[in-house]
Amino acid sequence: MKILVPVKRVPDPTQKAKIKDGHIDLTGASWIVNTFDEYAVETALRLLENGDAATRTAGSEIVVVSIGPDDAAKEIRTTLAMGADRAIHVVANDSEIDALVVVKVLSAIIAAEKPDLVVMGKQAVDGDANQVGQMLAGKLGWPQATFAASIEMKDKTLTVGREVDGGVEYKKVNMPAVVTVDLRIVAPKAVQNGVTPASFSYSGEGARLPSLKGIMAAKKKPLETKKLGDYGAEPKAVIKELSVTLPPPRPPGQIVADIPTLVKKLAEEAKVL
């Protein structure tokens, strides 16, 4: 079984947003693999291994794809160090691409790679758009399971627990399919692949950290470098960011001495009680 995992590198969200010339100032920013995409790599690994025996399913492959600038290669290596097998890096500047360009490139790669499954983060934590997975599934004519909090794999069918407004919806999708993952997909028993014993628990600490051995191995794993043109895509975004502003700071609040004072202020000053 082959799983394709598209990943995006994003500025570390713990950095304070600054504006320069009307856009986010990324001078000197530190970069990370988008958290949800990191969880997607973790999900792919859990689908293709025996977690208890720490062995990979024979003949399985995880291919990571990233579209981004030259230096995104560093974040791509991180996913290889986690355990992905090889990577394709389509070099493009962030200003040249939008969701439609990304979907076009991914569709072309999928046509060539023929994966059984695409697993990706539900959204990138910089743009927060939450579009690419659904668009890709639509373009491919594949079923989709978005916001996955659990996956149970049986033969060629996935039963995906999706966090929706008002509860958890379980949806069955036949592979090939696109699954976009939410935070809780890395819960200790969220992924059941029929190989890892159901009694086995992963650590509840999120995605695995690359081991030293993994980091060494990643240096030798194949990382192909490609251009947008290799996939018939042009560096032309139809969704353009015109400007970015920071929200006005909230007026400073007040610390009140006790609960009776709080209730009095909520009733008389804020008039919300």
């Binding site: 969200p13 947003a17 969701a99 439609l100 979907v103 539900k122 934590v125 910089d126 743009g127 927060d128 939450n130 579009q131 690419v132 997975g133 659904q134 668009m135 599934a137 639509g138 373009k139 079923p143 989709q144 399971a145 916001f147 909090a149 999706r162 929706v164 407004d165 008002g166 509860g167 919806e169 379980y170 949806k171 069955k172 999708v173 036949n174 399919a177 935070l183 809780r184 139809v238 969704i239 353009k240 400007s243 970015v244 502003t245 920071l246 929200p247 909230r250 007026p251 609040g253 007040q254 610390i255 009140v256 609960i259 709080l262 209730v263 909520l266 009733a267 804020a270 919300v272 009680l273």
Partner: protein
Amino acid sequence: MGNVLAFCEFSGSTLRTSALANIAFARAAATAHGGEVIALLVGAGAAAAGPAAAKYAPKVITVEDGKLDHYLAETYAPILARLAKEQGATVVTATATSVGKDVMPRVAALLDAGMASDIAKSTGKDTFVRPILAGNAYSTVQVSTPIICVTPRQSEFEAAAELPSAGSVSSAPAGEVNALGAAFDKLDAQKSDRPDLGDAKVVVSGGRGMKSGENFKVLEQLADLLGAAMGASRAATDAGMVPADWQVGQTGKIVAPNLYFAVAISGAIQHLAGMKGSKTIVAINKNKDEPIFQVADYGVVAEWEKAVPELIAEIKKLKASR
């Protein structure tokens, strides 16, 4: 000239509150595009809910078919895309609910349309303002495709008012319905008599400091006293104290009630992203250095074990005095 196709969710014979935010945005878009709002209802009971939608839209189209009883992006998206073309829509819109967020990008792919997700406002025919970086910045984007797909954020749009006179209702065929190997299995619904988190005027949220699900009972008493919805931080939902769909934050619900109580919540960026649009924020936390106090309008430095029961008693007193 272009119409606006507004996909509206309904429950029984009424529109969901979330759909009224969509209609509000759709009206503004219809004015900008020189067309009219066409509300689209799909699924079991769509025809019965049609008249309710017609109070808000000049034209309503309903689509029912036995194969559409359960929402699936695979079967709904082609219907939205087809009707968008048939009805001359240049904007296709759905509120950014879990359904809207799931279906609309798929519609965009079928229409080769660019999409603006989770928008806070529109500033022109094809320009939209939307939060990025967990709400720490606002980006103005221009979408230059002949058809534009949009999901407005419910908390940023006032619910639309009824029209002076009701619109027309007609039905459209489902066409060929192909689930492409997807099927609805079941829904584990969280049943609650409290208002929906997305619509509530007051929200009471608890965080890691609540320590256990049992301890949330006192917050639920406070919520019920105020007719509030319950919320939680990611730390509390991840720890299994409360259901996952209580989570307020970048990856949970985005709420903007009149009054938000954050109890024993530290105020991580991703939680703040989900609630800092609230009109009045109250924080109760025993640690005065927690970041939640930087966004709170009113902060009380106290242990919840003591503060919350006292708060309930004081509010009861206030209510009794009126």
